[in-house]
Point group: C2
Chain length 122, copies 2
Amino acid sequence: MTPVPRASAATSPRELAHPSCDEIRLEGVLHALSDPMRLRVVRELAVADAEVACSYIELPVTKSTTTHHFRVLREAGVIRQTYRGTAKLNGLRRDDLDALFPGLLDAVLAAAEVQSARLAGS
Amino acid sequence: MTPVPRASAATSPRELAHPSCDEIRLEGVLHALSDPMRLRVVRELAVADAEVACSYIELPVTKSTTTHHFRVLREAGVIRQTYRGTAKLNGLRRDDLDALFPGLLDAVLAAAEVQSARLAGS
């Protein structure tokens, strides 16, 4: 019986680099969240509470800028991006962030909510 | 009796520009906090719980870089800088930030504390 070659998740060229929890830094997370488009992505992922394709979240920017924002979020440790067939799926690393910085993500999401309501009402 | 001329805080040329609460944006606050030096300033101001001179907080950077970091924090609405005679005093705008984004500053300060302990222990 010939062994069927399988692409390991760890060695696949389509595996994207993610920081381990040890490598995630507060400053990087705050920087990733400090952009209006990236903050919007994070809010939508928090609501979706599931892995979604980039195209699920419509941003008023070009596709390449969208790709850039997702990469910044991934490299900071805020989201996880995985390939499923031809689709790139995105999910919030909520458990990792909550373990590293308890309460931080919730506080940022709540603050974003408050600000949205304030700006919509003004 | 000759009135003693007094420099009004509102009209003094040495009055520094600060965003009003309406002008403070979450993204700007997060960006201001996303730098290690600025995060350190904010942590020290939180501990000091008083207005302190820039020189009170020693950063391993040049004086002009220090001045830059304090300006970014002021322009984002994170700190208030006021002249008292020849000294420029700095204080955290904790009340304003807590009113705008409840829990955010505390969550960031707690996260910074956790990270410091983790990095010191590793």
